[in-house]
Structures are given as C-alpha cells and as structure tokens.
C-alpha cells in the first residue's frame, strides 16, 4: 500500500504546469476569482483521484490499510515501545502468564518478553514481505515486458524458463539454497524473490501482449520512439495497475514464505527473531502454553489478511471497468432479508 500512496503523491507532484503558474491547479481559491479562469468545466478527476475515493468507500480495504499501517507503525517504533530487549533472558520468570509484572503478553520458555519479541519480529517479517515483493516485481516486470513486447524466440525462451521455474518445488529449492549458502537475512530475501517472480512475469507478459497491439504503440513508433522508450514510457505506464495489485498481494505471500522457512529453521536465526521463528519455538510448548503460538500466528494472519484486502481494494479502485464498488449489505439489510423470508 505504501507504494500506492507514494505513487499517487508522485503523480500529483509530477503534474505538469502548462504555460507557467497561471494555470488553474497552481492558483489558490482566492486568486482564481481575480484571474480570468478558463470557461471549460473543471477537469474531471483523474484515475488516481477516482481510485482514492473508490478505495475509501470500500470498508474492507480501509480496515486492511488501517491494520497494516498500525503494524508498520508499531514495528517501526519497536525500540521505543518495547519494554524489554527481545533477546533478554530471564530464566526466573520463564513461561509467565500474560500480565505478570511488566510483561504484557507474558514470557516464553526462556523468560523473554513476548510483546517485545512480537514487535521486533514484525520488523523482520514486514521488511522481508515488502522487500521480496519489490524485488520479485522488479524481476518479473523486466522478464515479462521483454518477453511480451518482443515475442518470437525471446518470448519462447523466457516463458519456457518460467515454466521450468514453476515446475521446481520451490520450498525445497529455497531450503537447498539456504542450506548451502547459509541463511543470512539478505540471502533469504533474494532467494524468496528469485523463486516468486514467475507469476508477475506471466502477468506482465500477458498485459504487454495485449498492449503492444494497440495503435498508439504504432503511432509512437511513427514519431521515432525506440523500443526501450515504448516499453518503459508507453507500455509500462499502461500496465501499472495490475503490477501494483500483484505487488500488494505478493507481500502477504512473502511473509508466509518467510514464516515457513523460519519455522523450518532455515530463515531468521536466533537471537534475531521473526514471527515464523516464534511459531516454531512455540510448537514445543503447544500443550503447556498455546498462547505463545497464538500471538505470532495471529500477527501473520492479520497482516496477510490486511495486505490482501488492501490489494483487492486497489484493484477494484483502479480498474476503470469496475465503476462501482459492490454495495455490501449492512446488518439492517440482512435482517430485513431474513424477516422477509419468514
């Protein structure tokens, strides 16, 4: 979602000022009554503006965004919020129930404060999620756009490579690579990105296959735009919406993959911590203290759900073919519906 917001601001900031500062956008309300304003009606809101208003009317997306921002905010401020060092061991206070002393959510089997650990884990999990989504969208867009635009044997080679990548059991590939090269944080991001770009590549390729047949591509060639120019300036701009949407949806997938790897002990290594690692630690004590597993699990669940809601929201908001957000039935409508049946 972060990306979407910044993109929107960039688009607004990059709004060209035609013919200097005397134009409507740059003129404040008080001045505009003095200056001769254009007789034309105000420009209809652009794609981003309508998208924002549609997004705001989608309660799921807004809730998802709030939850996501809450998580980002809390984890970013972890050093200030967390009452304890997440790696501080206090064997005298092991397995304390929630609320013991200053331990909001209690402590784990080594007496480490669970609340502090959750905050610090979130930093790792979220940054892995966004970094992996970013890198794999980068790779996927590159491969997909080249493949879709040029077609022919380039397309065949690249797409068969994608097929091969898809045919490899990726979790095992990840395990293998991390086992060989060691599980450094940056390695993990790269490994996860290298094994999850194929979907983006296919999506971008499909979009490009459709877009490259557009007449404005031919028109762009006719004024002397190079292939690179057409791909970067003309086609990528037209493919932004699906790319942003998949990027958002990939964040959730990356967080889950990270959790899976950490759970298997190949991801983040102690004393660093992540939600997946916390889950993995907690499983030994499932029967004694199930809450220990519940907290990180709940965090993963909420973040992934939130990211997916936001992604869906962005897709609905930016898809011009879907003009109205589907009206969700309120409780009143439901009760009326149920009463009408009886």
């Amino acid at each position: 979602m972060n990306e979407a917001i910044t993109q929107e601001q960039l688009a607004a900031a990059a709004e060209p000022s035609w013919g200097g500062g005397s134009e409507g956008a740059a003129v404040s309300k008080s001045q505009s009554s003095v200056l001769p304003t254009s007789k034309l009606p105000q420009r209809p809101p652009g794609l981003w503006r309508t998208g924002m208003s549609k997004f705001r009317r989608n309660p799921y997306a807004v809730a998802g965004l709030i939850v996501l921002l809450l998580f980002i905010g809390l984890t970013a401020l972890a050093p200030y919020i967390a009452p304890y060092d997440p790696a501080r061991i206090d064997l005298l206070l092991a397995d304390a129930p929630p609320g013991t002393g200053n331990h909001l959510l209690g402590t784990d089997e080594l007496g480490r404060d669970i609340w502090s650990r959750l905050l610090y884990s979130g930093r790792v999990s979220l940054s892995v999620g966004f970094a992996v989504a970013f890198v794999s969208v980068l790779i996927g867009t590159l491969v997909g756009s080249i493949s879709g635009y040029f077609g022919g044997w380039i397309d065949v080679i690249l797409m068969r490579f994608v097929d091969v990548m898809n045919a490899v059991p990726l979790l095992f590939l990840n395990i293998l690579i991390l086992a060989i090269f060691g599980s450094k944080f940056s390695y993990m991001i790269l490994v996860l990105a290298f094994t999850s770009w194929m979907g983006v590549a296919r999506l971008v390729r499909g979009t490009f296959l459709q877009l490259r047949e557009m007449q404005y591509v031919e028109a762009a060639r006719a004024i002397g735009v190079s292939n690179t120019g057409i791909i970067v300036r003309h086609l990528l701009r037209n493919a932004t919406v699906p790319i942003i949407v998949t990027a958002t949806l990939m964040v959730g997938g990356a967080i889950l993959s990270e959790s899976a790897l950490s759970y298997l002990g190949l991801g983040i290594q102690a004393p660093a911590t992540s939600w997946g690692l916390m889950l993995s630690n907690a499983q030994e004590f499932m029967l004694i203290d199930p809450l220990q597993a519940l907290y990180p699990g709940l965090c993963i669940l909420m973040v992934v759900l939130a990211v997916n809601f936001v992604g869906d929201g962005i897709r609905d908001a930016l898809d011009p073919r879907k003009q109205r957000v589907v009206e969700r039935r309120g409780w009143r409508a439901w009760s009326r519906f149920l009463r009408s049946k009886t």
Binding site: P16, W18, I223, G224, G229
Partner: protein, 341 residues
C-alpha cells in the same frame, strides 16, 4: 528538381506458412516537394502496406520489404537500420493514423504526447517543449490550448484527437506527411474541417503529403497526383485533372462510377464492380483485374500489362492502350462500353 520521395519497384509482403505472399508488387510512385499524392483503392489493395513500408514500420507488423528502393530526399530508406530510422521517423516524415482515439496513449495528457515528439528529435528542455506543444495545439486549431494540453485523450472528441495526432505528427516539421485514411473514423463535417486544416498546414509548412483514402471525393479535393492501386499494384497514375477527366483503366472507371451522384435518378441502384479483390495467395495471372474487368481481352489473362502513357500526365497499366500508347489517343468512349455490358 528531384522529387522528395521516389519509390521504385517496391515489393513487400508477409511470410506465411505457405511461403511469402506479396502484398504490394513493383509499386513505383513519386511525390514532389509540396505536392499531395493520393493513393486510392478498395480495402486490401495494398495502400496501407505501402505507407507502412515507406515508414519502415512494416517489419513491426510482421511484413518485410522484399525488393525495390524508397528514396526520401536523397536518402535510401530501405538501407537504413531501424536504429537510423528512429531518427528519421517523426523528424523527416511523420504519419497520421485512421483511429485518432486509439492512436493516442490513454495515460498521458495530450500535451505530454506532443512534447514527447518534440523532445525525441530536438534538444529542448521539458518546459520549452511544453510551451511548443501548446503552440502546436493552437496551430491545429484547438481552442483554449493551455487547458487542452493538460487533458487526457478520453476527454477530447474524435475530431479534437485527430487534431492532436496531427499536431504530434507536425511537431518536428516533417518534409513528408503520410496520412492513412485520416478522416475515415470521423463524421462528415469534421472530415471537411480536418481536410481544410491539412491543406492549410501543408501550404504553411511546405510539406509533401501522401494521402491514403478510398474516398474519391477526398482524393479529388486534396490531391495533385493520384495513384490508383488494385490488388497490390498501381494500375493508374496521373494528375488529378487528367484522371478525373478521362479515367483510363477500367478499374478507375469502375471506382468513379461507384461514387453516388447528386444528380440523376434517386432510386437508381448504385454502381458496383462485380466480384471482389483477390486474396493475396490467389492473385490471377496476367492483369490482376481481368476477372472483374468488363473489357478483358484474351491477352489480359496471360500477360501483366506494364505502365503505359495514355496522356501527357497520365499512365495506366492496361492492354487497351498498348497500340495507342505512343500516340496519346483519346480515351475510349466508356459510356458505350458500359452499355454493352
């Protein structure tokens, strides 16, 4: 003076599973500076392929130039690499397309698109290019160009969009403008306005124009020279006066007669040429028009006629004029010919 554009024996085609098909075969044309050449013919006669071949855009459409030469201002275009063509396209020659709405990129403002065309070929800062873009919009007759420059293509009407497309094409003052059915997608009044605009701009900028159309009315109004194409070959060529006055090739005659007339009986049936354009892989031997020609002779089925002079400013590829070609004989009495049929 050397003509601006000289095309000689241009053959271009597409590779298919059954070998190469020639979409145009030995097309020779030339346009003088400041002149307009109209390329007329029905759908599938190779008009658009010719224009794409000149722009060297045919490669992107899956086609290929097989033979011949295209010289633009002394520059052999068939020998240029695509990298070199990038500098020529939009700069020395530009193209206008049929569908103005789809020829503009929907995610950019029209001003941005004009500015892009300027910045591709001229060293200009973004702000300068934007000012120039507004000037260009004013030049093509768009009211309130400052506001329009900030609008997106979907906010403009079809006629406006076509004006924008013209502005983009003219951004770098090309010497040759290729207009591929520029007004087909527009309604008649807008059509007339745009044709006026094109003529006026052509006079102002002194550029040559290759206008592709299937509308004989537009051709009569705009052209200095007309070339009639049929099934990938030029069948008749000449000055607009000569061609409309005395069409020589039976196909041209048929085309002229298919134009609905304001005079005469209202309920009379429109004239049509029997049959249709042959498919590219089944082009008849001899003269390509002979299966549909009312005046076909035995010779037409076996030998393809070369271009023959039929008047001081007129050439036709038809055996009817073989014996008379040298003497510039008067065109045959076509009304009788039609009556016999």
């Amino acid at each position: 003076m050397e003509p601006l554009l000289t095309i000689k024996d241009l053959t271009a085609g597409f590779a298919t599973d059954n070998g190469t098909v020639k979409a145009i075969d030995c097309v020779s044309l030339s346009i003088d500076r400041g002149q307009t050449l109209c390329l007329v013919g029905e759908s599938g006669s190779g008009k658009s392929v010719t224009s794409l071949a000149i722009m060297r855009l045919l490669e992107f459409a899956g086609g290929r130039i097989l033979e011949g030469s295209i010289r633009l201002a002394g520059n052999e275009l068939t020998e240029q690499t695509q990298r070199q063509m990038i500098r020529i396209r939009g700069n020395q020659m530009a193209m206008i397309f049929q569908e103005p709405m789809s020829a503009l990129n929907p995610v950019f403002t029209v001003g941005d698109q004009i500015a892009e065309s300027i910045r591709l070929h001229q060293r200009k800062r973004k702000s300068e290019a934007k000012v120039m873009a507004v000037d260009l919009l004013r030049m093509v007759g768009i009211p309130d160009p400052e506001t329009r420059a900030r609008q997106y293509p979907h906010e403009l009407s079809g006629g406006m969009c076509q004006r924008v497309v013209i502005a983009i094409a003219l951004a770098c003052r090309p010497e040759l403008l290729i207009a591929d059915e520029p007004t087909t997608a527009l309604d008649v009044t807008v059509q007339a306005q745009l044709l006026d605009l094109l003529q006026q701009l052509q006079r102002e900028l002194g550029m040559s124009m290759l206008l592709i159309t299937h509308d004989m009315g537009i051709a009569a109004r705009m052209a200095d020279q007309i070339a009639v194409m049929y099934a990938g070959v030029v069948v008749e060529m000449g000055s607009v006066e000569a061609l409309f006055d005395q069409p020589a090739h039976p196909y041209t005659v048929g085309l002229m007669q298919s134009v609905p007339s304001m005079e005469g009986e209202r309920l009379s049936e429109l004239h049509t040429i029997q049959g249709h354009v042959p498919a590219l892989h089944a082009i008849p031997a001899g003269c390509r028009f002979h299966p549909r020609c009312p005046r076909a002779m035995p010779r037409c089925t076996s030998e393809a006629p070369p271009m023959m002079a039929v008047g001081p400013q007129q050439q036709a590829a038809c055996w009817l004029y073989d014996d008379r070609a040298s003497g510039f004989a008067a065109a045959p009495d076509w009304d009788n010919g039609e009556a016999e049929r």
